[in-house]
């Protein structure tokens, strides 16, 4: 059931691009992400968003239905966050409808949705396990990437703990009133805290048994980046940029 904790991670581990080097996917998805925020939102967001959605639904193996489901929660945040742009303050009514705001809100929602699709494209194809060790190439000290790897490992265990405590509390009416719910949440946090450090202590022994001397190095096995994939990605990015700029000329 940990699958439900991180659906994107599960997809990344089972999808058709699992064996690709993370650089391949970074060039494609993060390149699109840069296009999404840097290009003029209209029609840039529409172009980037469509390309990302098609890639997500097709070659990346997520499927159209699931892609839309994954977008739902962030989309709700984005729309609510853009609502204030529809109104302006001041004038006789303090708050008034701002006709110009609709276009600005539309551009904002468009850009943010397109960017989120690019993020989904990366997250749903690239396991964190492949990303973390490579952050050190970007200048992140190994101490930090190793701590990040431990956080990754432990957080799933602790999510399980939190869920089990929650289920046990629910069985004993732990959410019947608001006061009970608050005490229950505190109980969960307390249990997770105790468990987190207990887990860390026990893991220390488990690692010592295999010769742990302070260094958490592991062998990261991955195929080399694919020149063809990266070249096609760069080509696609170029097409996205030129299409957007051309369309913009046409619209203007």
């Amino acid at each position: 059931m940990t699958r439900r904790d991180a659906p994107l991670e599960t997809l990344a581990h089972t999808g058709p691009w699992r064996e690709r080097h993370p650089a391949d996917k970074a060039v494609l998805a993060l390149g699109l992400l840069v296009c999404a925020v840097a290009l003029p939102p209209w029609p840039g967001a529409a172009v980037v968003g469509t390309v990302a959605l098609v890639l997500l639904a097709g070659p990346a193996g997520v499927g159209p239905g699931r892609a839309v489901r994954l977008l739902r929660a962030p989309a709700a945040f984005i729309v609510v966050g853009a609502l204030p742009l529809l109104v302006a303050v001041g004038g006789p009514t303090v708050l008034r409808w701002d006709p110009a705001g609709l276009a600005r809100a539309g551009e904002l929602v468009g850009r943010s949705l397109a960017a989120t699709l690019c993020l989904l494209l990366f997250a749903a194809t690239t396991p964190l396990a492949d990303v973390l060790p490579r952050l050190s190439r970007l200048g992140v000290p190994p101490a930090v990437t190793e701590v990040a790897a431990l956080i990754y490992r432990l957080l799933f265990l602790l999510l399980d703990t939190a869920r089990t405590v929650r289920e046990a509390q629910a069985g004993r009416l732990g959410f019947a009133t608001r006061g009970a719910a608050l005490r229950s949440a505190a109980g969960q946090a307390g249990a997770v805290f105790v468990r987190a450090f207990d887990r860390a202590r026990r893991l220390d022994e488990g690692l010592a048994l295999r010769g742990y001397g302070g260094d958490l190095a592991v062998d990261v096995d991955a195929p080399a980046p694919s020149r063809r994939f990266i070249a096609s990605s760069v080509l696609l990015l170029a097409v996205v940029v030129t299409t957007t700029l051309l369309l913009r000329l046409v619209i203007a």
């Binding site: 059931m1 699958r3 439900r4 399980d160 703990t161 089990t164 405590v165 289920e167 046990a168 509390q169 629910a170 069985g171 004993r172 009416l173 732990g174 019947a176 009133t177 009970a180 229950s184 109980g187 969960q188 307390g190 249990a191 105790v194 468990r195 207990d198």
Partner: protein, 277 residues
């Protein structure tokens, strides 16, 4: 008579393409001791969660005392008084600073007066024989002690039906016996008890009725019938129980009166009687 708990034609899947229960039927008669056997990941815990109302079936009916289990707030409140589920891993279940506080959690949430809460906590700790642990922080207890505390937390709710997920897993044989003795007392006091286990011999020894989960469905019946069915048990990733198998062998040779229910009895029957050879 209306069964205390019932699953009828229940289908359930956590993920669409991996069904866990596929048309499962199970009746839990009041007063029974029922052991549920099945492979890991086979749906035992899921069936228990359905009865406790923490998950809802995709299709089919789950009833407690003839009333369909509803996930409405009010209905769940009522359900918690009827059915208590004790989960498997006690490490992930105890959250209060002391054992007594943890056990008091349910009764306090029932809105009982302070005296009644105290009385229930005391009674539950006594029933589980852990009054000496009352003031201890749970995370410093042994696994067996933690398990007893989680059972006490459920017992303090005074349920009609007590459901235990693998209550003997990880316990040594003496602690298993102690747990079974406690469950026998609770049963004698009127609680209907359902537990899951991998241990077919334990199920045979303890249960009035057994239900074996195979391919998302229950096969229920008498322990003596089901726990010698090699095909059924193999399908559930289990093996037959010793006691009925040995009885069958002895019966064939006219020695049924010697049938042991535990190995110790076999050893004692094998000894020369009264010092005569």
């Amino acid at each position: 008579m209306t069964p205390l708990g019932r699953l009828a034609e229940v289908h359930f899947a956590y993920e669409p393409d991996r069904p866990v229960l596929r048309g499962a039927d199970l009746d839990i008669r009041r007063g029974v001791r029922l052991a549920v056997l099945g492979p890991n990941g086979g749906g035992k815990t899921t069936a228990f969660r359905l009865l406790a109302g923490t998950v809802a079936p995709d299709s089919g009916t789950v009833e407690v005392l003839g009333t369909p289990v509803s996930r409405s707030r009010r209905a769940l409140l009522e359900l918690r008084r009827r059915v208590q589920l004790v989960l498997q891993d006690p490490d992930d279940q105890l959250f209060a600073a002391t054992v007594a506080q943890d056990v008091s959690f349910g009764p306090i949430n029932l809105g009982l007066p302070r005296d009644e809460v105290r009385a229930r906590v005391d009674a539950a700790l006594t029933a589980l024989d852990i009054t000496d642990l009352a003031g201890r922080p749970p995370h410093l207890l042994s696994n067996g002690q933690k398990k007893r505390v989680t059972i006490a937390g459920a017992v303090a709710m005074r349920p009609d039906l007590l459901v235990l997920d693998e209550p003997t897993a990880g316990l040594d044989p003496a602690a298993v016996e102690a747990t079974l003795a406690t469950l026998a007392e609770l049963h004698a006091a009127g609680t209907t008890i359902v537990l899951s286990t991998h241990d077919v011999d334990l199920a045979h020894r303890w249960a009035d009725e057994v239900a074996v989960l195979v391919d998302g469905e229950f096969r229920a019946g008498a322990p003596d019938d089901l726990l010698v069915d090699e095909k059924l048990l193999a399908a559930a990733r289990l093996g037959p129980a010793w006691a009925p198998a040995v009885r069958a062998l002895l019966r064939r040779h006219g020695l049924e009166h010697l049938s042991p229910s535990v190995p110790g009895e076999a050893l004692r029957s094998a000894l020369p009687a009264d010092g005569r050879s």
